[in-house]
């Protein structure tokens, strides 16, 4: 892990491999949409985001994270896991290419190719941002409040705006710098 953030605390894993917390189903149902939304913003793909969500909930299920802290923990875990997928090039087997374009509003092959290339560029740009900036950016744009982002990243609420602002500026510059030539 690039930075030591709260979701990756060693003491958060408190259960053996065959022991699953009893509140897992409720937390899953309450938080699944948010976790997928976070991962989808990093990966640009709902299918891949759902794979990441499954991975994150599996880790959560064996953790001792209090249920009241589950949502920020899961959110930041989803962002990190998705960013790690980009970095390692980990992909779902078999259907990644087939999954694009999922969006039925993309009507033809040319537009689909452009959309896919755009997703690739955004993913690459995100992976070049400092990890904390990338995570803060994704969490904020997934709908977390400044207070929630602060709790998830273990930073002061007053610093969230600065981190997000710098991340957005950096993202724009990264995408412009690597923009495809006309």
């Amino acid at each position: 892990m690039d930075v030591a953030l709260s979701w990756d605390r060693k003491d958060s894993v408190a259960r053996s491999a065959d022991e699953v917390r009893p509140d897992l189903e409720q937390v899953f149902r309450d938080s699944y949409r948010r976790v997928v939304a976070v991962a989808a913003r990093v990966l640009g793909s709902r299918d891949e985001a759902e794979d990441v969500a499954q991975e994150v909930f599996l880790t959560f299920g064996r953790s001792g994270v209090p249920a009241g802290e589950a949502l920020p923990w899961l959110s930041v875990a989803a962002a990190h896991t998705a960013l790690n997928h980009i970095r390692t090039g980990k992909r779902r087997a078999g259907r990644e290419e087939a999954a694009h374009p999922r969006d039925a509003t993309v009507p033809d092959v040319a537009e689909a190719v452009v959309a896919r290339e755009e997703r690739r560029r955004v993913r690459a740009a995100l992976s070049r941002l400092p990890r904390k900036q990338a995570v803060a950016l994704v969490l904020r744009h997934s709908g977390l409040s400044y207070t929630e982002v602060a709790a998830a990243l273990d930073v002061s609420p007053g610093s969230v705006g600065t981190i997000v602002r710098r991340a957005e500026s950096a993202l724009r510059k990264e995408l412009n710098r690597h923009a495809p030539s006309e």
Binding site: E25, Q54, G158
Partner: protein
């Protein structure tokens, strides 16, 4: 006076209530800060567009997948028992339907009913085979527009009023099941699957040719609503559940269901004998194949007051269920009971 920081300007974009009055007033009067705010707003909008992703997901369906394949085997029995007893045949039946055709919304008016569940038949498909099946989005567009939204309700009357279904009475509770039940209701689920030849070709270059008329054809499936009475236990899982739901029904815009089904099965990579089994079960458009993983469940035929039924038992012997269809309604009795006990409850329902 000092200018507010770039972080404060950024927060003004989407959480102005989190910024002090002093800073807000300064920005309103300061051209430099207004420019900074405009820059922040522009970058925020740019990032929002760049990061936009479609992420409409169904936690109920995702939970089934998660509980099924991700939880370690030692804990899986407990987890599986929890969802299996809560979900009612509405969802269990849906899993089989999704395997065959997909499901969603229907604005079209020319739907032709092609399938109405009148009986249920178990189809054993091993987990490894099931995992090898790509999801339907590889072959077309899947849209789920009505979701079951299973939720607790105040009582039996509320469950029946919401669903329009009469819940049967349990004449005698099995030993160990005590107290009053809690009631749940679930709304109808509707989904549409649209075949897309382009997606099929993109997914598998060697796919067999699509039958005439199949490209772009739509299949709508509905199931539910459903209601359930749930007796809890001190283990935190239901000790008994009696559920009833409107049986699944499928509609087509014209292509015979068998044509779509056979083509899907030719693509799925299922073992040939399983595919043949699925074809034969639904050939009459009346039998709903209920997917059973032999690693987890065994099934056997039974009789509930003259109606053919299927008894399911978990291989760890912690769960048993009996399910049958009568007059377009699926009824399920399940719990942390023996097969004999659930059958006794089922046969005693009034």
């Amino acid at each position: 006076m000092r200018h507010p920081s770039e972080g404060v300007l950024r927060r003004l974009v989407d959480e102005p209530a989190g910024v002090t009055d002093t800073d807000r007033e300064h920005v309103a009067d300061c051209p430099a800060c207004r420019d900074g705010l405009a820059d922040a707003r522009r970058d925020a909008e740019f990032a929002a567009n760049a990061l936009y992703a479609e992420a409409d997901v169904n936690p109920d369906v995702a939970w089934l997948t998660f509980a099924d394949k991700s939880v370690h085997s030692a804990a899986r029995a407990r987890t599986y028992r929890r969802w299996a007893t809560k979900r009612t045949p509405l969802v269990a039946g849906l899993a089989a339907l999704v395997l065959l055709a997909g499901a969603g919304t229907a604005a079209a008016t020319d739907w032709l009913q092609i399938f109405r569940t009148e009986k249920i038949a178990p189809v054993p498909v091993r987990q490894a085979d099931l995992m090898a099946i790509p999801d339907l989005s590889s072959w077309g567009d899947v849209e789920i527009t009505e979701r079951p939204k299973i939720h607790p309700v105040a009582g039996r009357a509320a469950a029946e009023k919401e669903t329009g279904l009469a819940l049967p009475d349990v004449t005698e509770l099995p030993r160990g099941v005590t107290g009053d039940p809690q009631y749940q209701a679930g709304q109808r689920i509707t989904a549409t699957f649209t075949f897309r030849a382009g997606k099929v070709r993109a997914f598998a270059a060697d796919a067999p040719p699509m039958p005439a008329g199949l490209d772009g054809s739509k299949f709508r499936l509905t199931a539910g609503p459903g209601a359930a009475a749930v007796w809890s236990s001190n283990q935190g899982v239901p000790s008994l559940i009696v559920a009833r739901a409107v049986a699944p029904t499928a509609y087509s815009t014209g292509v015979p269901f068998a044509t779509a089904r056979d083509y899907l099965l030719s693509l799925s990579g299922l073992p040939a004998e399983v595919a043949n089994q699925l074809r034969s079960f639904s050939a009459d458009g009346r039998t709903l194949p209920l997917h059973v993983m032999p690693e987890k469940l065994t099934s056997k035929p039974a009789d509930v007051n003259g109606r053919p039924a299927t008894v399911l038992s978990s291989t760890d012997q912690v769960l048993a269920a009996v399910v049958w269809v009568d007059d377009g309604r699926v009824t399920l009795v399940a719990g942390s009971l023996s097969p004999g006990e659930v059958l006794t409850v089922a046969r005693g329902l009034k």
